[in-house]
Subunit: 130 residues, 2 copies
DNA sequence: TACAAAATGTTAGATCTTCTAACATCTAAT
DNA sequence: ATTAGATGTTAGAAGATCTAACATTTTGTA
Protein backbone atom coordinates (compact mmCIF):
# COMPACT_ATOMS: atom_id res chain seq x y z
CA UNK A 1 0.00 0.00 0.00
CA UNK A 2 3.02 2.23 -0.01
CA UNK A 3 3.04 2.69 -3.74
CA UNK A 4 -0.64 3.44 -3.67
CA UNK A 5 -0.23 6.20 -1.18
CA UNK A 6 2.53 7.61 -3.33
CA UNK A 7 0.32 7.76 -6.40
CA UNK A 8 -2.47 9.36 -4.46
CA UNK A 9 -0.20 12.20 -3.50
CA UNK A 10 1.32 12.89 -6.88
CA UNK A 11 0.64 16.40 -8.07
CA UNK A 12 -0.69 15.92 -11.56
CA UNK A 13 -3.92 17.90 -11.97
CA UNK A 14 -4.10 21.58 -12.90
CA UNK A 15 -6.79 23.67 -11.29
CA UNK A 16 -8.97 23.56 -14.37
CA UNK A 17 -9.31 19.80 -14.13
CA UNK A 18 -9.93 19.99 -10.40
CA UNK A 19 -12.68 22.52 -11.00
CA UNK A 20 -14.46 20.12 -13.31
CA UNK A 21 -13.99 17.07 -11.14
CA UNK A 22 -15.15 18.77 -7.96
CA UNK A 23 -17.56 21.33 -9.35
CA UNK A 24 -15.86 24.03 -7.29
CA UNK A 25 -14.73 27.42 -8.54
CA UNK A 26 -11.06 28.36 -8.68
CA UNK A 27 -11.81 30.95 -6.03
CA UNK A 28 -13.14 28.32 -3.68
CA UNK A 29 -10.28 25.90 -4.27
CA UNK A 30 -7.70 28.58 -3.57
CA UNK A 31 -9.62 29.73 -0.53
CA UNK A 32 -9.61 26.27 0.99
CA UNK A 33 -5.88 26.18 0.42
CA UNK A 34 -5.61 29.51 2.18
CA UNK A 35 -7.47 27.89 5.05
CA UNK A 36 -4.79 25.20 5.05
CA UNK A 37 -7.14 22.38 4.25
CA UNK A 38 -5.14 21.35 1.20
CA UNK A 39 -1.52 21.95 0.24
CA UNK A 40 -1.15 21.73 -3.53
CA UNK A 41 2.36 21.87 -4.91
CA UNK A 42 3.49 24.28 -7.59
CA UNK A 43 5.10 23.42 -10.86
CA UNK A 44 8.13 25.22 -12.28
CA UNK A 45 5.90 27.99 -13.52
CA UNK A 46 4.18 28.56 -10.18
CA UNK A 47 0.98 26.84 -11.28
CA UNK A 48 -0.81 24.85 -8.61
CA UNK A 49 -0.83 21.10 -9.22
CA UNK A 50 -3.23 18.91 -7.27
CA UNK A 51 -3.23 15.27 -6.20
CA UNK A 52 -5.99 12.72 -5.82
CA UNK A 53 -5.74 13.28 -2.10
CA UNK A 54 -6.40 16.96 -2.65
CA UNK A 55 -9.45 16.14 -4.71
CA UNK A 56 -10.71 13.79 -2.02
CA UNK A 57 -10.42 16.50 0.60
CA UNK A 58 -12.13 19.04 -1.62
CA UNK A 59 -15.05 16.69 -2.16
CA UNK A 60 -15.25 16.09 1.57
CA UNK A 61 -15.26 19.82 2.17
CA UNK A 62 -18.18 20.09 -0.21
CA UNK A 63 -20.06 17.53 1.83
CA UNK A 64 -19.31 19.24 5.10
CA UNK A 65 -20.43 22.58 3.73
CA UNK A 66 -23.59 21.01 2.42
CA UNK A 67 -24.20 19.74 5.94
CA UNK A 68 -24.01 23.31 7.23
CA UNK A 69 -20.57 23.04 8.80
CA UNK A 70 -18.48 26.17 8.42
CA UNK A 71 -14.76 26.55 7.80
CA UNK A 72 -13.90 26.60 11.49
CA UNK A 73 -15.71 23.34 11.99
CA UNK A 74 -14.14 21.75 8.97
CA UNK A 75 -10.70 22.83 10.09
CA UNK A 76 -11.28 21.26 13.46
CA UNK A 77 -12.43 18.06 11.85
CA UNK A 78 -9.20 17.79 9.93
CA UNK A 79 -7.16 18.60 12.98
CA UNK A 80 -8.80 15.69 14.74
CA UNK A 81 -8.24 13.43 11.79
CA UNK A 82 -4.61 14.39 11.87
CA UNK A 83 -4.37 13.53 15.53
CA UNK A 84 -5.97 10.16 14.99
CA UNK A 85 -3.59 9.42 12.18
CA UNK A 86 -0.58 10.23 14.30
CA UNK A 87 -1.91 8.06 17.02
CA UNK A 88 -2.03 4.98 14.87
CA UNK A 89 1.41 5.62 13.48
CA UNK A 90 3.19 6.33 16.72
CA UNK A 91 4.23 3.83 19.37
CA UNK A 92 2.10 3.65 22.51
CA UNK A 93 2.17 6.86 24.45
CA UNK A 94 4.02 6.95 27.72
CA UNK A 95 2.60 8.75 30.68
CA UNK A 96 3.89 12.18 31.40
CA UNK A 97 5.94 12.76 34.49
CA UNK A 98 5.59 15.90 36.54
CA UNK A 99 8.83 17.05 35.06
CA UNK A 100 7.49 16.63 31.56
CA UNK A 101 4.47 18.69 32.46
CA UNK A 102 6.61 21.49 33.82
CA UNK A 103 8.73 21.57 30.72
CA UNK A 104 5.72 21.59 28.43
CA UNK A 105 3.96 24.31 30.35
CA UNK A 106 7.06 26.40 30.30
CA UNK A 107 7.41 26.30 26.53
CA UNK A 108 3.74 26.37 25.75
CA UNK A 109 2.68 29.18 28.00
CA UNK A 110 4.98 31.62 26.33
CA UNK A 111 2.98 31.48 23.12
CA UNK A 112 -0.45 30.99 24.53
CA UNK A 113 -1.53 34.57 25.05
CA UNK A 114 -4.04 35.64 22.51
CA UNK A 115 -5.35 32.15 21.88
CA UNK A 116 -9.04 31.49 22.06
CA UNK A 117 -10.40 29.00 24.58
CA UNK A 118 -10.92 26.67 21.69
CA UNK A 119 -7.27 26.83 20.77
CA UNK A 120 -6.29 26.19 24.34
CA UNK A 121 -8.40 23.08 24.28
CA UNK A 122 -6.47 21.96 21.30
CA UNK A 123 -3.24 22.23 23.19
CA UNK A 124 -4.72 20.36 26.07
CA UNK A 125 -5.70 17.51 23.91
CA UNK A 126 -2.29 17.26 22.37
CA UNK A 127 -0.30 17.22 25.53
CA UNK A 128 -2.48 15.77 28.19
CA UNK A 129 -4.20 13.05 26.43
CA UNK A 130 -3.31 9.67 27.81
CA UNK B 1 -15.36 -3.84 -16.05
CA UNK B 2 -17.03 -1.75 -18.70
CA UNK B 3 -17.36 1.15 -16.35
CA UNK B 4 -13.72 0.92 -15.43
CA UNK B 5 -12.69 1.10 -19.05
CA UNK B 6 -14.71 4.27 -19.47
CA UNK B 7 -13.14 5.79 -16.39
CA UNK B 8 -9.71 5.15 -17.72
CA UNK B 9 -10.60 7.08 -20.81
CA UNK B 10 -11.54 10.31 -19.04
CA UNK B 11 -9.55 13.24 -20.34
CA UNK B 12 -8.02 14.91 -17.33
CA UNK B 13 -4.31 15.49 -17.94
CA UNK B 14 -2.82 18.42 -19.84
CA UNK B 15 0.16 17.74 -22.04
CA UNK B 16 2.60 19.13 -19.51
CA UNK B 17 1.65 16.48 -16.99
CA UNK B 18 1.83 13.77 -19.63
CA UNK B 19 5.30 14.94 -20.58
CA UNK B 20 6.48 14.48 -17.03
CA UNK B 21 4.76 11.16 -16.49
CA UNK B 22 6.07 9.65 -19.70
CA UNK B 23 9.29 11.55 -20.18
CA UNK B 24 8.30 12.33 -23.76
CA UNK B 25 8.49 15.72 -25.44
CA UNK B 26 5.37 17.57 -26.53
CA UNK B 27 6.53 17.11 -30.09
CA UNK B 28 6.67 13.36 -29.69
CA UNK B 29 3.29 13.14 -28.00
CA UNK B 30 1.64 15.15 -30.74
CA UNK B 31 3.42 13.13 -33.37
CA UNK B 32 2.10 9.86 -32.01
CA UNK B 33 -1.35 11.39 -32.08
CA UNK B 34 -0.77 12.34 -35.70
CA UNK B 35 0.10 8.69 -36.28
CA UNK B 36 -3.29 7.86 -34.77
CA UNK B 37 -1.89 5.89 -31.89
CA UNK B 38 -3.70 8.03 -29.33
CA UNK B 39 -6.76 10.24 -29.61
CA UNK B 40 -6.72 12.88 -26.89
CA UNK B 41 -9.79 15.05 -26.54
CA UNK B 42 -9.75 18.82 -26.49
CA UNK B 43 -11.09 21.11 -23.83
CA UNK B 44 -13.15 24.23 -24.48
CA UNK B 45 -9.99 26.14 -25.26
CA UNK B 46 -8.68 23.60 -27.77
CA UNK B 47 -6.07 22.25 -25.37
CA UNK B 48 -5.39 18.53 -25.60
CA UNK B 49 -6.50 16.58 -22.55
CA UNK B 50 -5.20 13.06 -22.02
CA UNK B 51 -6.55 9.98 -20.26
CA UNK B 52 -4.90 7.19 -18.31
CA UNK B 53 -5.33 5.02 -21.37
CA UNK B 54 -3.43 7.55 -23.43
CA UNK B 55 -0.60 7.47 -20.92
CA UNK B 56 -0.56 3.69 -20.99
CA UNK B 57 -0.23 3.69 -24.75
CA UNK B 58 2.49 6.32 -24.71
CA UNK B 59 4.51 4.25 -22.27
CA UNK B 60 4.03 1.19 -24.42
CA UNK B 61 5.18 3.13 -27.45
CA UNK B 62 8.30 4.04 -25.58
CA UNK B 63 8.98 0.38 -24.93
CA UNK B 64 8.40 -0.60 -28.53
CA UNK B 65 10.70 2.11 -29.76
CA UNK B 66 13.32 1.05 -27.26
CA UNK B 67 12.99 -2.44 -28.71
CA UNK B 68 13.80 -1.07 -32.16
CA UNK B 69 10.26 -1.21 -33.56
CA UNK B 70 9.39 1.72 -35.79
CA UNK B 71 6.12 3.60 -36.16
CA UNK B 72 4.85 1.31 -38.90
CA UNK B 73 5.42 -1.70 -36.72
CA UNK B 74 3.82 -0.08 -33.72
CA UNK B 75 0.80 0.92 -35.76
CA UNK B 76 0.41 -2.62 -36.93
CA UNK B 77 0.65 -3.89 -33.38
CA UNK B 78 -2.20 -1.66 -32.33
CA UNK B 79 -4.25 -2.65 -35.34
CA UNK B 80 -3.93 -6.25 -34.24
CA UNK B 81 -4.80 -5.38 -30.69
CA UNK B 82 -7.87 -3.63 -31.97
CA UNK B 83 -8.91 -6.67 -33.94
CA UNK B 84 -8.49 -8.91 -30.94
CA UNK B 85 -10.59 -6.60 -28.87
CA UNK B 86 -13.36 -6.63 -31.43
CA UNK B 87 -13.43 -10.40 -31.35
CA UNK B 88 -14.90 -10.23 -27.94
CA UNK B 89 -18.56 -9.60 -27.40
CA UNK B 90 -19.22 -6.01 -26.54
CA UNK B 91 -21.82 -5.27 -23.88
CA UNK B 92 -24.21 -2.33 -24.34
CA UNK B 93 -22.68 1.08 -23.90
CA UNK B 94 -23.32 3.13 -20.83
CA UNK B 95 -22.50 6.76 -20.38
CA UNK B 96 -20.80 8.14 -17.28
CA UNK B 97 -21.85 11.25 -15.47
CA UNK B 98 -19.40 13.75 -14.04
CA UNK B 99 -20.21 12.36 -10.63
CA UNK B 100 -19.22 8.90 -11.75
CA UNK B 101 -15.94 10.29 -12.95
CA UNK B 102 -15.19 11.95 -9.66
CA UNK B 103 -15.87 8.81 -7.68
CA UNK B 104 -13.88 6.75 -10.06
CA UNK B 105 -10.74 8.74 -10.42
CA UNK B 106 -9.27 8.11 -7.06
CA UNK B 107 -9.60 4.38 -7.20
CA UNK B 108 -8.64 4.30 -10.83
CA UNK B 109 -5.54 6.41 -10.82
CA UNK B 110 -3.96 4.31 -8.14
CA UNK B 111 -3.41 1.40 -10.40
CA UNK B 112 -2.30 2.50 -13.79
CA UNK B 113 -3.61 -0.92 -14.58
CA UNK B 114 -2.76 -3.01 -17.52
CA UNK B 115 0.82 -1.91 -17.28
CA UNK B 116 3.62 -4.41 -17.25
CA UNK B 117 6.27 -4.00 -14.58
CA UNK B 118 8.49 -2.65 -17.31
CA UNK B 119 5.94 0.00 -18.15
CA UNK B 120 5.63 1.02 -14.57
CA UNK B 121 9.34 1.47 -14.41
CA UNK B 122 9.04 3.84 -17.29
CA UNK B 123 6.99 6.18 -15.18
CA UNK B 124 9.16 9.09 -14.36
CA UNK B 125 9.38 8.63 -10.63
CA UNK B 126 11.31 11.78 -10.07
CA UNK B 127 8.16 13.75 -10.63
CA UNK B 128 6.15 11.78 -8.13
CA UNK B 129 7.33 13.68 -5.16
CA UNK B 130 7.01 11.99 -1.82
C1' DT C 1 27.74 5.81 -50.30
C1' DA C 2 23.91 8.56 -51.13
C1' DC C 3 19.36 9.62 -50.97
C1' DA C 4 14.57 9.62 -49.28
C1' DA C 5 11.74 8.96 -45.52
C1' DA C 6 11.02 8.84 -40.69
C1' DA C 7 11.39 10.87 -36.27
C1' DT C 8 12.29 14.66 -33.55
C1' DG C 9 13.95 19.51 -32.62
C1' DT C 10 13.16 24.43 -32.79
C1' DT C 11 10.88 28.71 -33.41
C1' DA C 12 7.28 32.42 -33.79
C1' DG C 13 3.01 34.36 -33.01
C1' DA C 14 -1.52 33.56 -31.33
C1' DT C 15 -4.57 32.03 -27.80
C1' DC C 16 -5.80 29.78 -23.56
C1' DT C 17 -5.03 29.15 -18.63
C1' DT C 18 -3.61 30.41 -14.26
C1' DC C 19 -1.59 33.69 -11.16
C1' DT C 20 -1.97 37.58 -7.54
C1' DA C 21 -4.30 41.21 -5.54
C1' DA C 22 -7.84 44.07 -4.87
C1' DC C 23 -12.46 45.29 -4.33
C1' DA C 24 -17.52 43.78 -4.46
C1' DT C 25 -21.34 41.03 -2.93
C1' DC C 26 -23.85 38.06 -0.22
C1' DT C 27 -24.69 35.25 4.04
C1' DA C 28 -24.35 34.01 8.85
C1' DA C 29 -23.44 35.11 13.56
C1' DT C 30 -23.32 38.38 17.35
C1' DA D 1 -27.08 46.45 12.51
C1' DT D 2 -22.60 45.39 12.35
C1' DT D 3 -18.90 42.23 11.74
C1' DA D 4 -16.77 38.36 9.94
C1' DG D 5 -17.01 34.56 6.72
C1' DA D 6 -17.42 32.88 2.10
C1' DT D 7 -17.50 33.60 -2.64
C1' DG D 8 -17.76 36.51 -6.97
C1' DT D 9 -15.53 39.49 -10.23
C1' DT D 10 -11.97 41.90 -12.52
C1' DA D 11 -7.45 43.47 -14.40
C1' DG D 12 -2.94 42.83 -15.77
C1' DA D 13 0.94 39.75 -15.91
C1' DA D 14 3.03 35.46 -16.84
C1' DG D 15 2.93 30.49 -17.83
C1' DA D 16 1.25 26.76 -20.97
C1' DT D 17 -0.28 25.06 -25.20
C1' DC D 18 -1.63 25.63 -30.01
C1' DT D 19 -0.52 25.48 -35.21
C1' DA D 20 2.53 25.67 -38.84
C1' DA D 21 6.62 25.84 -40.79
C1' DC D 22 11.38 24.86 -41.40
C1' DA D 23 15.71 22.40 -39.46
C1' DT D 24 18.19 18.55 -37.85
C1' DT D 25 19.11 13.85 -36.93
C1' DT D 26 18.42 8.97 -37.63
C1' DT D 27 17.16 4.97 -40.39
C1' DG D 28 16.25 2.12 -44.31
C1' DT D 29 17.44 0.98 -48.70
C1' DA D 30 18.73 1.57 -53.79
Amino acid sequence: MREKELRRSMSVFPIGTVMKLTDLTARQIRYYEEQELIYPERNEGNRRMYSLNDIDVLLEIKDYLADGINMAGIKRIYELKELEKNEKTKPPEKNLTDDDVRRILHSEFLSISGLSPKDKNKLNQQHFKQ
